[in-house]
Amino acid sequence: MSEAAPGWLVAEVAEGIQRLLVLRLDGCPPADAVEAVALAWADALMVRGGAWREDLDSPRLREAFRRLAAHATRWPAPAEIWQHLPARPAPPRLQAPPTPPSDEERAKIRALLQQARQHLVR
């Protein structure tokens, strides 16, 4: 059983559904059903997406709905959002050492590794 959608996710989906609604696409839901539609979309995202994080995923969802609105020619199913969802931002990479080790340091490292090997295979 998947968890209930958090408030921020429901709000993002409602914003996206608003964006789609004003386009008046074929198959558009009736006005009195839009809240239920938004909640069903949020639930579908929870079932398939799982661990959503507001800080990482809120901008992605907004962009996905923007792209979906740009491509849709009729009212979309929730599954279509995944085709337009950008990847999460990559975590920051480790910085390269400021200067590469010198030949002397390399020789010292090799010697230490050699000692370690001898110690282990003794």
């Binding site: 209930a4 006005a31 909640l39």
Partner: protein
């Protein structure tokens, strides 16, 4: 072809406006509204423009959605918008040209609006153009979603 908005004074080629997502959405939103509501709404948006800067489409769209969510009765909202615009124009003519930054003013107008004000607007309409609730299914839907967003942001889970 270059177009200039008579309210917010933004000027751009028609092609450029059609390219802008927010501009397109704003046009779609306005076209879905009855003129009774669309006209005072556009005038109200102009109150948010500062003297030196045009109002961005993103901001105009956000403001329009916010104000449409303030009251589900389109006639009452139209009356409140007209009253707000008139009163603030009087203040502007008197030298207070600060742009609006929120909806507190119109909220107060809505709170203090007697039912007779809506009736007066209603009487002024042609009978076939009367609207008893939301002016269109699209705007009705947008307003419902705006309310859902507020509820969703107000509580942890929905």
């Amino acid at each position: 072809m270059r177009l200039r908005c008579p309210v917010c004074h933004a000027e751009a080629a028609l092609e450029a406006w059609a390219e802008d997502d927010a501009a397109r959405e704003m046009m779609a939103l306005l076209s879905a509204l009855d003129a009774t509501l669309a006209r005072p709404l556009v005038a109200y948006l102009g109150l948010f423009r500062s003297g030196s800067r045009a109002l961005s489409w993103e901001r105009a769209l956000r403001i329009a959605r916010e104000v449409l969510a303030l009251d589900a009765n389109a006639l009452r909202l139209a009356a409140a918008l007209s009253q707000t615009v008139e009163q603030l124009r009087v203040k502007r003519d008197a030298g207070d040209v600060r742009p609006l930054t929120g909806h507190n003013y119109i909220k107060r107008v809505l709170e203090g609006m007697p039912s007779g004000a809506v009736a007066a607007v209603e009487r002024a309409q042609d009978a076939p153009r009367r609207i008893e609730r939301a002016p269109s299914a699209t705007v009705d839907g947008v307003m419902r979603l705006e309310a859902l967003k507020r509820r969703a942001r107000g509580v942890g889970e929905v």
